[in-house]
């Protein structure tokens, strides 16, 4: 019960800024990001780790923020979709490719796609088509049929070998 376990205080570095948050131990990272830090770009699509809308970077690795408690993460460094753009505020390569290729419609799954793809292409600069689709398999989208998202990944991949693949 909420009044029987004392609150915890955690320090988080999110998008380069230090935050100290006091919350219930059961509070999900997603809810701390959204409610306490007002970073509402991280979306809640299923709360059981299946849809990927809540994906953030934890010490550089893409993770589901709905499957983590903030209390686990004292001292962690996080990047959310709000921290994905270039330093001058312009869209990063993945974000720009998503716009160029109509990789989003309603935009609700988009933050998770942007975070996942940015991390994936950083680590895998020359993916094949099949690898792109498998990399995206943890991000559910109901609007696009994945056409624009896959094309965006092709465009944003660093290695030209993967670019310009006929649709």
């Amino acid at each position: 019960m909420s009044d029987t376990i004392s609150d915890v205080t955690v320090s988080l570095t999110v998008n380069g800024r230090r935050h100290t948050v006091t919350c219930e131990p059961r509070k999900l990272l997603t809810d701390v990001l959204r409610d306490d830090l007002l970073l509402t770009g991280t979306h809640v699509g299923c709360e059981h780790g299946a849809c990927g809308a809540c994906t953030v970077l934890l010490d550089g690795a893409a993770v589901r923020s709905c499957l983590l408690f903030a209390a686990q993460l004292d001292g962690a460094t996080l990047t959310t979709v709000e921290g994905m753009a270039n330093a001058d505020g312009s869209l990063n390569d993945v974000q720009q490719a998503m716009q160029d290729n109509h990789g989003l419609q309603c935009g609700f799954c988009t933050p998770g796609v942007v975070v996942s793809l940015t991390a994936y292409l950083r680590d895998h600069p020359d993916p094949t088509d099949d690898e792109i689709r498998i990399a995206l398999s943890g991000n559910l989208c109901r609007c696009t049929g994945y056409q624009g998202i896959v094309n965006a990944a092709r465009q944003a991949a660093v290695n030209p070998r993967a670019k310009g693949v006929a649709r």
Binding site: M1, S2, D3, E24, R26, K27, R34, D35, L38, L39, T40, G41, T42, H43, V44, G45, C46, E47, H48, A50, C51, A53, V81, E82, M84, A85, Q95, M98, Q99, D100, H102, L104, Q105, C106, G107, F108, C109, T110, P111, V114, D130, I132, R133, I134, L136, S137, G138, N139, L140, C141, R142, C143, T144, G145, Y146, Q147, G148, I149, V150, R167
Partner: protein, 780 residues
């Protein structure tokens, strides 16, 4: 008068919605956090049918942080009226629509698993859910009423208030002449098809925040909705407030596909609870389990089709008999099949159609709109075409050609008295067949079979009744205002939930006004600023709101030209507009910019032509010339079926479609793609099964499988652009992808399986287990 059509219309203009959505700066309903907001959680039934024998909320009420707990006894008596604008008043109020018995929370008995029994309002969602766990509920369970024909015949009732589980029925008439026609037909073929119960699954579940301030007497609602005006009107009727005292806002909305078109029971309960509370904002954000268990569903439908056909494949007459499951509390209890019957003949010349239908209550979650609510007609008809071809020994594509409505047949009046015009079924079939390369495929198929691989080809076509324009849906409004700087704002009654309306409407306005697209702001989704319109759904916005935007732009353009002609001492017919500058054709130095015209109209109206009033504002509506604006398409796909695992690999997927003048081809293809992916899901993966006790068995994304990227192939598009009869030539195309894809894919799978003697599957889903079972059964 010259025009600048083409500057933006027809171009794949990048979406202005995207930068905010790509960077986490969208504003969805749960993103707006008003201090003092309370959070609501539902207590739901875990029994499909039964009587509540104990309901004790005292422990929940006593939990610190809980502000209120309401049960059906608290909220149900407060209901003033409960009906949807789109479907109109209930029969007892003089309307024509059947509705289920009215309640917000279980009225002493529960009628499906997920049925809301109580609401908790607390300072956080965590506490609200803690309190929900403290509510003591005991239910004396009864055997659930389930199934389609079974529920029709079941003497046990879903609703104590009704005399039967059949909400609406239209029995198939027996007409001696027609019976004689069937008796004498060379071929009479009957098949029964079933859809798989599916649900919309917008990635953003439902949700709303309702603040009723009893001291101001006003209600403010922020909602995930396709139609702010529907919620406003519904909330006013529900509470007895005047509509003008209810304001509804929707900013970004994370998909809907029909699920956010009507006010469903939970949303109504939140409105009623906040109204009763009368103090603080009350927020309810549906979680995914609730969305899968208790947001309305669709596609639990059965159709029995009987086709009378001559030796050449001409369809002589058809009987179609539809049964649809509407669950316990659909937002209205009418028969969607009525519309399906109306458009059943699709792209074919079917001279006689004898229909029947029934809508049946069961102890499951209610039915509501899902992308192409009437699509059962195409699902079943297009599978049936392949069955008929198979019986006649004809190629399924040839059978379609024999019956297609050709260019020379238009306008064509169907057996149900629909007048089809401006459609291109033969052109899209030709294009799809050409793109997929049928001849080459048939050779490849034989070769693959020789190597033990099963390939199949499927085709399906449809004619979509887009842009419904009668009754409350008759028109869409637009208010176009040019400010004193010469830039414009257009306000619409639309409700974008992924449709790119901010971009496409700006394309229309900028093209017809002659200004830069960045000079056009598009405003929607707030009843205080958006003119009264039915929202976005039913593939209507491009045609009807687009027509309104175009009409408004042309009226404003005329006024600007009249003022400019006065200034330039020229004839308006001799003027042209480029980049917000009006000039005399051939004399570009004789010019006046919009900013100067607008400054005059707003600030120096005495300088306007005699008799012209001040300001630059157009208030208009557009009603298309016909009740439906028809669009059409042909889908073709090639699959490989693994005979050991039953897995289906979609090798190619082709869509040839005709949505008239494309405003933005990129957006058109995006709409098609999303619809096709949903259709693929409905055939291969998606099903909401219920067990014998009425328990839903797929309440997580691990059980309810929507397609992910590896399951969806690259799509190939062909476009036939024939102009509609509506302004601008636009046709609606938001639903077509989801309508034709299920039968196209089903036909391809059955074509593959037929090579090893497996009779065609007729019951969705065609998942691996169903396919393996069919192969096994055929080879016992």
């Amino acid at each position: 008068m010259t025009t600048t059509v083409g500057r933006y219309i027809g171009q794949s203009v990048k979406r202005r919605e995207d930068p905010r959505l790509l960077t986490g700066h969208g504003r969805y309903v749960d993103d707006v956090q008003v201090p003092g907001t309370l959070h609501l959680a539902f207590v739901r039934s875990n029994v499909a049918r039964g009587t509540i024998t104990k309901l004790d909320v005292s422990a929940a009420r006593d939990l610190p942080g809980v502000e209120a707990v309401y049960t059906g006894a608290d909220l149900n008596p407060d209901i003033k009226q409960m009906w949807a604008t789109m479907t109109g008043p209930p029969i007892e109020m003089g309307g024509q629509t059947a509705y289920p018995p009215v309640s917000l929370l279980a009225p002493g008995d529960v009628r499906y698993v997920g049925d809301p029994i109580a609401v908790i309002i607390a300072t956080s969602r965590y506490i609200a859910e803690d309190a929900a766990d403290l509510v003591e509920v005991e239910i004396e369970a009864k055997q659930a009423v389930l199934g389609l024909r079974e529920a029709m015949a079941n003497p046990e009732l879903v609703h104590l208030e009704t005399e039967s589980n059949v909400s609406v029925a239209m029995p198939m008439p027996e007409i001696p002449e027609i019976e004689a026609l069937f008796a004498s037909a060379p071929h009479v073929i009957t098949r029964t098809f079933r859809g798989a119960r599916a649900t919309n699954v917008p990635m953003e579940p439902r949700g709303l925040t309702v603040h009723y301030d009893r001291y101001r007497g006003e209600m403010e609602i922020r909602a995930a909705t396709q139609s702010v005006h529907e919620i406003k009107a519904f909330a006013a009727r529900l509470t007895g407030l005047g509509e003008s005292h209810v304001r509804v806002v929707a900013d970004d909305v994370g998909g809907g596909f029909g699920q956010k078109m009507m006010v469903l029971r939970e949303e109504a309960a939140v409105i009623a609870a906040a109204f009763k509370l009368g103090t603080a904002p009350v927020k309810w954000i549906e979680d995914r389990r609730e969305n899968l268990m208790a947001s309305n569903q669709a596609r639990s439908e059965e159709g029995t089709l009987t086709f009378a056909v001559d030796d050449d494949g001409h369809i002589l007459a058809v009987k179609c008999d539809f049964i649809e499951e509407i669950g316990a509390y659909p937002p209205s209890a009418g028969a969607t099949a009525m519309l399906a019957i109306g458009v059943f003949t699709g792209p074919y010349k079917i001279p006689v159609l004898i229909p029947g239908c029934a809508a049946v209550y069961t102890n499951t979650v209610g039915k509501s709109a899902y992308r192409g609510p009437w699509a059962l007609e195409t699902f079943f008809r297009e599978q049936m075409m392949d069955h008929v071809a198979h019986e006649l020994g004809m190629d399924p594509i040839e059978l379609r050609r024999v019956n297609l409505i050709g260019p020379g047949d238009l306008p064509y009046t169907t057996a149900t008295q629909m007048v089809l015009d401006h459609i291109t079924p033969t052109e899209t079939l030709d294009q799809a067949v050409d793109m997929i390369g049928v001849t080459a495929f048939r050779a490849e198929q034989v070769d693959a079979k020789a190597h033990g691989r099963l390939l199949g080809l499927g085709v399906a076509g449809y004619v979509e009744p887009s842009a419904i324009a009668f009754g409350v849906l008759n028109s869409d409004p637009a208010v176009l205002t040019m400010d004193a700087s010469g830039k414009v704002q257009i306000r619409l009654g639309t409700g974008s939930h992924g449709h790119s309306i901010e971009t496409t409407i700006a394309q229309i306005v900028a093209t017809h006004l002659g200004c830069d697209i960045d000079d056009v702001a598009v405003i929607q989704g707030d009843t205080a600023t958006s003119p009264l319109g039915p929202g976005t759904g039913g593939s209507r916005t491009a045609v009807i709101a687009g027509g309104a935007a175009q009409t408004a732009s042309l009226i404003l353009r005329d006024k600007l030209l009249t003022i400019a002609a006065h200034f330039l001492e020229a004839n308006p017919d001799d003027l042209e507009i480029n980049n917000s500058v009006v000039s005399v054709k051939g004399t570009p130095q004789a010019a006046v910019p919009f900013a100067q015209l607008a400054m005059t109209a707003h600030m120096a109206p005495d300088m306007l032509p005699a008799g012209m009033g001040p300001g630059l504002e157009v208030v208009t509506r557009y009603q298309p010339p016909t009740p439906f604006t028809w669009s059409n398409a042909t889908h073709a796909c090639i699959v490989e079926v693994d005979r050991e695992t039953g897995m289906v690999d979609i090798k190619r997927y082709v869509v040839s479609e005709d949505c008239g003048q494309m405003i933005n081809p990129m957006v058109v293809e995006g709409q098609i793609a999303g619809g096709v992916a949903q259709g693929i899901g409905g055939v291969l993966f998606e099903e909401m099964p219920y067990d014998d006790a009425g328990n839903p068995l797929a309440t997580t994304f691990l059980d309810y499988l929507i397609p992910s990227a590896p399951e969806i192939p690259d799509f190939e598009y062909g476009h036939i652009e024939s102009m509609s009869g509506a302004l601008g030539g636009y046709k609606g195309m938001g639903e077509g992808g989801a309508i034709a894809s299920p039968p196209a894919l089903a036909n391809a799978i059955n074509d593959a399986l037929a090579q090893i003697g497996v009779p065609p599957l007729t019951v969705f889903p065609f998942g691996p287990s169903q396919i393996v079972a069919a192969i096994t059964a055929a080879h016992v």
